[in-house]
Point group: D2
Chain length 144, copies 4
């Protein structure tokens, strides 16, 4: 288990926020958003974050390498409901030569709904682990 | 619109049946299976049908051509609920040089829940329409 | 089969447009957006349309009635790819005492990618067909 | 973070196995099963496990309480591909008065593909945490 980042519940600890609205198709018979949909939201936020720092995800993939999800962790704190507007904040940390971690805060109207962490590693076209691209190691990803 | 096949509600009109159980993640806040999940069920039944006639879908795809969905139609008659066991029957008809149609009957304990039609066409690696593979035009697909 | 509306490919024939970006999770191993995801997009557009005319979907549902999908039809014309921005236009027509139909045009940069139709009917809390609410029969839904 | 269970990669450490086949709709443009689909597989395995010990999930829900997912963790070790047959083994541990944890092993032909943990808690109809039902605390859930 590489999971090490402990996601904060303070929005000030994050450097990027993407906002989306939950979809009806993402709810389940408990009347709330299904717990697997949170992983889709995290991915949407990552894609928008990469775009915001000038590295759109399809360019990343076109380079022949890909950023695989090695681990995912979600802590569900308050159920998301249909049609709620969710702020997904994220920050990058725990870079090694081959992996990095992203912490997330999901909030509705300032109320924490979930925190999450994903661990990512570069993989080549054959799916094998490879070294992270140089731009990931630069300041762009971590900010600051 | 190529859609022409009118799916029967008589199970005897179908040549293949695949059975699956609905998943909780496929339900929505109305408490029933979301209407988009039916297309997933049709696809599962197609995959099992192709396997049953000796043409597993990954071999079809490995041949360099693919069978794209050109049109889909679903008539929802009785809602599917969580954990129900659904019989998905299908039959192939309306073959032309480049397309064919599949009719479906979805039933729970013999009660019709939905009927559906998908229209398929062969596409090459570039996504352009191409002629159907020979094995599709043979008797295997349509039955005896 | 109630499906009767023939969706136009001329954007001028539509009264409302919602724009969204395709998600990576909605693609499949063919490298394009999975055909079932289109139904999710139609639903998102319906929800935004109802909000735009002052009848948000959760209020509709809170009234004790619901608008069930009775039929869905999609014609796939050009595959949607990851990260494309899709304009989903819709218009309402074919109202009867108990059902109405919505036609859709999906376009990327003005290029038609798909057309679709959904047929809807009011159902009561027990899932039985009921008469459409008065506001649906008014000019608000169909436009002026 | 309640996550404490460390899932074993030895099948002998698990008490229940459910087998399913990956669906084409669960793949993404990387050509493998999307990482969010693993949570759907875990849920299917839980539902079948509850059925196997005489407590089908819809009865659990009909009792007025529900078993919410409080945390989820997945470690992706080898990508799952379309049409693979996956053995999902699970075991229950770390029971407290209000929560319990489930560990999972996902394997294809004996090769470990992923391990996972979900943390569950009982919630009442209003979504508030409540004490676990008595049957969960009995030997049925943990086995042995």
């Amino acid at each position: 288990m590489r999971l090490a980042l402990v996601p904060s519940t303070d929005p000030a600890d994050y450097r990027f926020t993407h906002t989306l609205r939950t979809r009806f198709s993402e709810t389940d018979a408990m009347g709330v958003v299904h717990h697997a949909a949170y992983l889709l939201y995290l991915e949407v936020a990552r894609v928008e974050f990469l775009r915001s720092i000038g590295h759109p995800y399809d360019e990343v993939r076109a380079d022949g390498s890909d950023l695989a999800v090695l681990e995912s962790f979600v802590q569900y704190r308050r159920a998301l409901r249909f049609d709620e507007v969710v702020d997904i904040s994220l920050m990058v940390d725990n870079l090694t030569g081959t992996t990095f971690q992203i912490g997330y805060l999901l909030a509705v109207d300032g109320e924490t709904c979930a925190t999450a962490v994903t661990v990512h590693g570069a993989v080549d076209a054959g799916g094998r682990a490879s070294r992270l691209p140089e731009w990931i190691k630069g300041p762009g990803l971590r900010g600051g």
